[in-house]
């Protein structure tokens, strides 16, 4: 039964994962995502699962790798500079076709940066989360409800593709409370059934002649074949592109934003509409695969300007917007970073500046 509760983003993510059948979590303390491991530390023993506090992010992501290799649903989470340390393990899991789920509750960067919210890991998340040029589906929620729904679904996507999935959120959503409808709790029987479906790849010990292996690389010349196969799998992701187009039918001014920035931008679009300005919002929900077509189809005769709204300086999603727009429509930026939050006033000011220039 679905259940409506009032929960903090991080805790909602952990509960959603538990309900999806996640039975292993390893993680290391880092602000602003500590509520995720803390919740799992309480919750996993209640459902017969395992919580391990790793000695580092490096250890935690490698524990995740070991757990997922046995066929269990497993997860980890960290934040920004911690996620940098995940690069090794995530690359190994992508190479070994391990369906792991992990969460980045972004904070300010680069370096140790700031503990406050930011969106400064966009390029790392969508283009190069580790060595070797692999890709992942990256889900970018903009409400606590979406944090729940996307985490719940992430396991299915990961297992479908035998590839890691990243939930890319930030310190605002991780720490704020909202009413959410929780998805149904999978029964022990369902969890066992899900795991049984992974038996073909589970490294748990088998009779001689039925050897199971988990290979993040190859000795010899077979490894290119692996890369060709994963590239073909990435090419099936057009169907997985998700995007919200808000008041876009007649829009002349388009705000482009994901996650928390999109939420702020939506308020501004509504304000501008009250003034009679035809504003709209494009919100990538999957930032990988990116909704390039949504931007590419914009008609320069109708759309006069795009405002890229991000909590990152320099801009990062801008690269994907430019890739789709190819200079056909002017693009301006409205940015904060280093843990400083965008405000309604600032996004409104950015929009007005764009309007002055292009309308």
């Amino acid at each position: 039964m679905a259940e409506r509760v009032f929960m903090k983003g991080c805790e909602a993510i952990a509960e959603a994962a538990t309900r999806a059948g996640c039975r292993f979590f390893a993680g290391y303390p880092i602000t602003p995502q500590n509520e995720i491991p803390e919740y799992f530390a309480r919750r996993m023993p209640e459902v017969g699962g395992t919580f391990v506090q790793g000695e580092s992010e490096v250890a935690s992501v490698n524990m995740l790798y070991g757990a997922v290799a046995t066929g269990i649903r497993a997860m980890s989470s960290s934040s920004s500079c911690g996620i940098s340390l995940y690069s090794e393990g995530v690359s190994y899991m992508a190479a070994a076709r391990c369906p792991a789920v992990y969460v980045n509750v972004q904070r300010g960067g680069p370096g140790i940066g700031a503990i406050q919210p930011a969106q400064q890991d966009y390029l790392q998340a969508t283009k190069a989360s580790g060595n070797g040029g692999f890709k992942m589906i990256v889900l970018a929620p903009s409400t606590v409800q979406e944090c729940v729904d996307m985490t719940y679904e992430a396991f299915d996507l990961a297992e479908r593709d035998e590839n890691p999935v990243l939930v890319l959120t930030d310190g605002v959503m991780g720490t704020m409370m909202e009413p959410v409808i929780l998805p149904p709790m999978k029964s022990d029987a369902e969890v066992a059934e899900i795991r049984a479906k992974q038996a073909h790849r589970a490294v748990i010990g088998h009779a001689i002649g039925d050897q199971h292996t988990c290979e993040p690389g190859g000795i010899g010349d077979g490894w290119e074949k692996h890369n060709i196969e994963t590239a073909a799998m990435y090419n099936t992701w057009d169907k997985d592109v998700r995007v919200e187009e808000f008041m876009m039918d007649d829009a002349e001014i388009v705000l482009a934003a994901y996650g928390i920035s999109a939420r702020i931008s939506k308020v501004i679009v509504k304000e501008l509409r009250k003034e009679g300005i035809k504003a709209g919002l494009i919100r990538p929900i999957t930032v990988s695969p990116f909704p390039y077509d949504t931007f590419a189809k914009l008609d320069p005769a109708k759309v006069k300007g795009i405002l890229d709204v991000e909590m990152s300086i320099p801009a990062q999603m801008r690269f994907d917007i430019d890739h789709a727009i190819c200079g056909r429509i002017p693009v301006k930026e409205c940015l904060r970073s280093g843990g400083q939050l965008l405000t309604n006033d600032q996004v409104m000011a950015g929009a007005r500046e764009l309007i002055k220039e292009v309308l």
């Binding site: 490698n62 995740l64 070991g66 757990a67 997922v68 748990i204 010990g205 009779a207 001689i208 050897q211």
Partner: protein
């Protein structure tokens, strides 16, 4: 086979009959044989999961017939934690060299031991990086030449050889810590016994066991197999005395 003959010894099924690609004089293949024999004697070959380190130990993936996964360099302690906690019925061992376990993987090694993870660690210590071509390891002896210490290791610049078993012996959680060798038939028998005991500990849920095996590397030591054995016994065993640090029964 004649009726009055019976088979008293057979090759372990844990390794392929096609052979291995270790260098002449290398002791990895002997250790693999002992792991297989120990698991077979316990009737656990079908539960055996190898968490393989990176380096020459990684050549084992071509050689073994049981389940394996490859950890990133040094991370076997963490990966094995994930495997064992998620699949408690599996018989999980890590197979790591000294560069893997004692340099890049020191945090994962110490922490898995300190948590008392219910796993078996096979630590093959030959005092040098083999796969990458003879670079200095934390376990390289003073005066021993390496490609990254061409004049030989010196304490002023590089510090002293690291004694992993002695360090782990400071921790409370580990149940079994031994240092052994496979240079003589007696030591081979003893090492098989240790590996079997370490597996038994895991099966009985007793916790962390490590078997350190001091071996030679003729290729990167720049010595012949026989000279390597002399060096092993005279120099390596002097720095790394064989023995039982802890045998909690």
């Amino acid at each position: 086979m004649a009726e009055d003959m019976k088979k008293v010894y057979a090759r372990t099924k844990a390794v392929k009959e096609s052979g291995n690609s270790f260098c002449p004089g290398c002791m990895h293949s002997t250790v693999h044989k002992l792991i297989g024999e120990a698991a077979e004697e316990l009737g656990m070959l079908d539960k055996l999961v190898r968490v393989e380190g990176v380096g020459c130990c990684g050549l084992g993936q071509l050689y073994v017939t049981h389940d394996w996964l490859i950890a990133a360099h040094g991370r076997a302690g963490a990966v094995a934690t994930g495997v064992k906690r998620s699949s408690p019925d599996s018989l999980v061992y890590t197979y790591q060299g000294d560069g893997d376990l004692a340099a890049i993987g020191l945090a994962e090694t110490m922490s898995a031991a300190n948590r008392g993870e219910n796993i078996t660690v096979i630590f093959v210590n030959n005092g040098i990086y083999g796969m990458t071509g003879g670079q200095m390891a934390p376990t390289t002896l003073i005066g021993m030449k390496a490609t990254t210490a061409p004049a030989g290791r010196n304490a002023e610049e590089h510090g002293y050889p690291m004694h992993v078993s002695e360090i782990l012996n400071q921790l409370t959680a580990p149940k079994m810590i031994v240092r052994t060798a496979v240079d003589t038939p007696q030591n081979v028998m003893k090492t098989r016994k240790y590996i079997k005991k370490a597996f038994q500990n895991q099966i009985e849920g007793k916790g962390y066991s490590i078997v350190e095996i001091v071996t030679s590397c003729p290729t990167n030591w720049g010595l012949g197999p026989i000279e390597s054995l002399d060096f092993l016994r005279e120099k390596m065993f002097a720095e790394y005395p064989l023995g039982e640090f802890r045998m909690n029964d």
